[in-house]
Amino acid sequence: MSRIIPIHPMDDFKERSRSVLNDPGQRKNFRGAMDFLQAKRKSQFPDQEEREGLRDLGAAIRRYSLAHLPRLLEQLEANLTANGVQVHWAQTSAEANAIALDIARRVNARSIIKGKSMVSEEIEFNHAMEAAGIEAFESDMGEYIVQLAGEKPSHIIMPAIHKTKQQIAKLFAEEVPGVAYTEDVDDLIQIGRGVLRRKFADADIGLSGVNFAVAETGTLCLVENEGNGRMCTTVPKVHIAITGIEKIVEKLEHVPPLYSLLSRSATGQSVTTYFNLISGPRKPGELDGPEEVHLILLDNGRTQAYADEQLRATLQCIRCGACMNHCPVYARIGGHAYGTTYPGPIGAIISPHMLGLESTYPLAFASTLCGACAEVCPVKIPIPDILVRLRNEAMAQPQSDEATLRGSGAARTVADRAVWSVWSQVYGRLGLYKLASWFMSRGRAMSPTEQGAWTRSRTPLIPAPKRLRDLLKDRKS
């Protein structure tokens, strides 16, 4: 049975996209930011042979890690536990938040300082903590700005990419007590530094993400420039790290190539300021570092992607954001239009596993399949192929063999099904095709002038007065 879902997510997505498209200011911000990031990345890969070799290696490491994922997760858990880190497992966002909340209550935490973590955005961590009366404070400069403005990140690496320095200057002057309006970026950063240093010193818990978890050593790796990640994982008495189950590698030597790919692809830096390897809480005799370290391993739909040979590649992602930086769609509509935690091409292919295809399939259709994302992906995820697969899934007959995902068939409507059923009948039978095309060419005056999305910005499609077979017949005679 095909079904028509009551709220059409496409409407929201299209509405948000249109609103950005009609805003020259925002479009200029995004264009400028994308040009900047593309040029920076390009400058980091001057040698094509080296770049392609490293991408092959990066992809091989990620594919190997995924192929051995259950074994590596158990190895990681065993080694972290031996190092004194407490490992927790969560199937859903709610379970992950409950684990964090349980830890927070046990240590009587009133405030949590957060390093940059997209998984914490994915599980709506801040809301869950605030609902329980615990303050969750963002400390990455971009995240801090976005939180202060009551917004969400619009990019996974540069959360406040949609804002100009004028907007941030105004925000700080209005929201930070005792601050005068300044557009000087150094001054603005020093204002943030001042506010947040106090927060680091006072917070009961630090929360962070994980860039790579190393199974053989039981190590959590964090990549950053600001030092807030180090603050969050070192100053408070308790450190909670949260990560998707896929962010794992077997060996420490697997990290250098991925780290190089990540920093060069993400922000066009040969290296970030800090690479932080955490292998346990404070040991006896050590004078600082957290007394407790926890790791929450989150599924939230990732095992669905894992189960499928083609979609498993989605989990190779190292979250560099290069796909969005090079996406002609993202560059025009920005991150918020997507309405998902992860925007851009990676968002279009990972979100269906987290939220269901029924509410995310429009993202798979919002692509020209130009292939730029796959060309720049440091771990060679075939994003366009996966987009096409998700389109097919969205149109699949639910509960059939072709429908394998949560929400498969959600885009299938009675009207679509009728049109394609007629089409396949006509194109499958020569007699019927001849008859239909004869009527079409003769009845072209009756072609509708309103042809849905097609005629919104184009002239209507009208069949040719003569069919190809008529033209060929004319030529022969």
């Binding site: 192929a67 259950p70 997760l73 379970e95 070192t234 290296v271």
Partner: protein, 232 residues
């Protein structure tokens, strides 16, 4: 508490169960990471490695001073005086800390990191200007010093003070991260926290404009110690 523990345990079984039930067709072989680095490594002598390290780190505002075993305290004190540094956080039971303390420098208060952070957190955040730590080694290719915090030189020394001096022996500079990890045998003996530091803390989160001194040190000063007399 126990309810959450139970949920975590059953989540573990479900997640691992789902992953194990997936058959992986043609699972890839263990990637030859060493082979790739061996083929792409630059074979440089020490001066070339030093030069590459400096170029990379100076490009992100790191300050370098060539020093010897004899003159590094003098260089440090001179730089500290120029920058108006009033106090310097040093480790306990370190050779370099002892050398500095023995000089009883005038105008620069030496503050040993001798107590657990919990007892003096506010003082560290609010009134320490600078710190001195040693570096374990460095990596030329990615322009980073390697710092392994110890009970003598804890983690926050290289993070909280506004200026971080790091004493690096030039002879310890590796070509790339892979050779550092394998030569130093990291996978068998990582400390609770190991760090690569490429420069002072920075951000470009406001309109892609680079600004230094985000949350960590605003300045990173490398005292590059040469075994022979060096020209500064």
């Amino acid at each position: 508490m126990s309810a959450v523990l139970d949920t975590s345990a059953s989540a573990r079984e479900s997640i691992l169960g789902r992953l194990r039930s997936t058959t992986i067709a043609d699972a890839p072989a263990l990637p030859d990471v060493k082979g790739w680095f061996d083929a792409h490594r630059r074979h440089e002598d020490l001066p070339q490695r030093i030069s590459r390290l400096r170029t990379a780190m100076e490009a992100v505002k790191t300050e370098f001073h060539n020093v010897t075993d004899a003159d590094w305290p003098e260089v440090l004190l001179r730089v500290a005086a120029t920058k108006g540094i009033r106090n310097l956080l040093i480790g306990t039971n370190t050779a370099h800390g002892a050398v500095l303390e023995a000089r009883h420098p005038k105008g620069l208060q030496l503050v040993p990191y001798a107590q657990p952070i919990d007892t003096w957190r506010d003082q560290l955040f609010d009134s320490i200007d600078a710190s001195l730590t040693s570096a374990r080694s460095a990596v030329a290719e990615i322009g980073s010093v390697i710092v392994w915090p110890t009970p003598s030189e804890p983690r926050l020394m290289s993070l909280v003070p506004h200026i971080h001096f790091v004493l690096l022996d030039a002879s310890t500079i590796h070509s790339d991260l892979h050779s550092a990890i394998s030569a130093e045998g990291w996978s068998g003996n990582l400390p609770t926290n190991a760090l690569l530091i490429g420069g002072p803390s920075k951000t470009a989160d406001i309109q892609q404009t680079l600004a230094y001194g985000a949350h960590g040190p605003k300045e990173l000063i490398v005292l590059l110690r040469h075994t022979t007399e060096a020209t500064s």
